[in-house]
Every structure is written in C-alpha cells, then in structure tokens.
Symmetry: C2
C-alpha cells in the first residue's frame, strides 16, 4: 500500500516538473485515484489558459468528473505534488474526495512566492481585517431566492 | 455610487433565481464589473455540468479572464448573490479582484444545507482534526522541482 502511495505521489511530482519545463504554468501536478487506478491528472495551467482557477487539483477534479459523469468523487483519493491551496482544498471538499496526499507544503510554496499560505491566513480573518475589502449588502430579495430553493420540489442537491 | 452597487447586486440575485428556476444548479449568481460595466456573469452549474467547481463566482471569473485575455482581474469587482465559499474566496484572491460585494451570508447558505460554513471551519483546523484525512508524504524530489522553478529564467509568475 505504502508503495502505491509513493508511486502516485511520484506521478504527481513528475507532472509538476513536466508542466514547469513545458512553460504551461507553475510547478504543480496532481492525480486522482479510484480503486487503485489513476483516473485523471492535472497540472497548473493558470498562465497558459489565462485561468486563475486552473490549479493542478482543480484540473484533475474537473477531468475526473467529466470521465465519471458525476459531480461527486467519493471513493476517490487525490495525490498532489504540493499541499492544496484553500481554493483546491475547498474544491476537494465540494467534490467529496476521500483522502488527500501531498508532498511539498504550503510553506514550501510560500518560499517560492506562491500565495497559498497568505490566502489561508486571509480566509480565517474577519471581513474588516482582510486585504481585499468585502461588504455585505442587505438585499431581501436574495434571501427570498433561498426560501424559494427550500420550497422547490424538483432539485438536485449536492 | 450606492445605486450602482445595488444594481449589480440585483443582477447577481436575478441570475441566482433564473438559474434555480432553469434547473441548472443551485440558487447562486455573480457578476464582475470593470470601469462601471458588467463584463461577465456566472451562475451555479455544479449539477448540470457535473463540475463541483462550477460555482457562480468561478464561472464569472473564468469568463472575465477569457474576455479580457488575462489571469489577473485587478481593476475589477465581483458582486455575488451569496458570500463566496472558501473555494470562490480563494479564487478571488488568486484572480486579484479589487473588491467583493455579496447579499446572502455563509450562514444563510448553511441554513439551506450548503456546506460553505462547514468548509470555512475545516480549512482553519490542523490536518489531524479535519473530516477529510490529509497526509504529507516526504518526497525530496518534489522540493527539487521547487528549487528548479526558482532557478528557471523564463517563467511567468502570478
């Protein structure tokens, strides 16, 4: 089992290096495994796709969902060359993945000038202490939409 | 100015209701504004696209980046019908948006059974206290890739 884990992490790291060398984006790779098989992979395409959400884990999650035809990846594990940033960690929760393995840490990422650790810190701050200003606008109609959602009979929850 | 803010929030809320009624996904909408004009919009397509990352804000960010041809949305603001979940909030940081306005809160979302608040809580916990197990695997080669990134001369940072 330990050997398999190392094998998947090595593949994620191999992807991270390949991606960096290709010039497609940052040095990050990830794979998703189901029943002992790699079903999808991703690497960082932020700069080549002009998509700030195209992190390795998000790419791998989106591909796995396409392949399996579902938005729910329970029964799957993710292996990433680096600790998922808060965006990717949250995506892993939304996708219901079973387990996360990673190699480099968010502090390693901070040392090479990626903002993962900074964003972790920002998220846990109250609104008025954050670097990006955030403001709640009272808007009764928004709440009404939520009430309508609760009453809606035909809906797919997730 | 206040009137404009309300107008953009109303558009985000209108999208949230339209999306719910169309059956495409949850009751969430968002718009991105640059220089006083709405340049992109998004609504929640998780269940219709089978993509757990297809939240309103992510959809709006990806569309704005496609339209502007950049991964950096500084100079833009986002208006969302609901407080961004940690995935979307982090994406907003990665995209360098200037400001965030929202209507419903993460507690409102929790009350209609969306996991936003739960994920906020999970992210701030140490690894060993989280619901999804997370494990760091020592892998020297991953760190070497980061060192190679630092030494790489031609690269696009973000």
């Amino acid at each position: 089992m330990q050997n398999k884990i190392l094998e998947y992490i090595k593949e994620a790291v191999r992807l991270s290096r390949e991606n960096m060398n290709s010039g497609d984006g940052g040095p990050f790779g990830a794979v998703i495994v189901k029943d002992g098989e790699i079903i999808s992979s991703g690497s960082n395409k932020v700069t080549s796709k002009n998509d700030p959400t195209a992190h390795a884990e998000i790419e791998a999650i989106r591909e796995a969902c396409r392949i399996l035809g579902t938005f729910n990846l329970s029964g799957c594990e993710i292996y990433s060359s680096c600790e998922p940033c808060p965006m990717c960690l949250s995506a892993i929760y939304w996708a219901r993945l079973d387990k996360i393995y990673f190699a480099n840490t968010k502090k390693d990422a901070a040392e090479i000038n990626f903002d993962d650790n900074f964003i972790y810190e920002e998220i846990s701050k109250p609104h008025d202490k954050r670097k990006i200003p955030v403001m709640q606008i009272d808007h009764d109609d928004a709440k009404k939409v939520f009430d309508e959602w609760v009453k809606k009979e035909e809906k797919i929850q997730y």
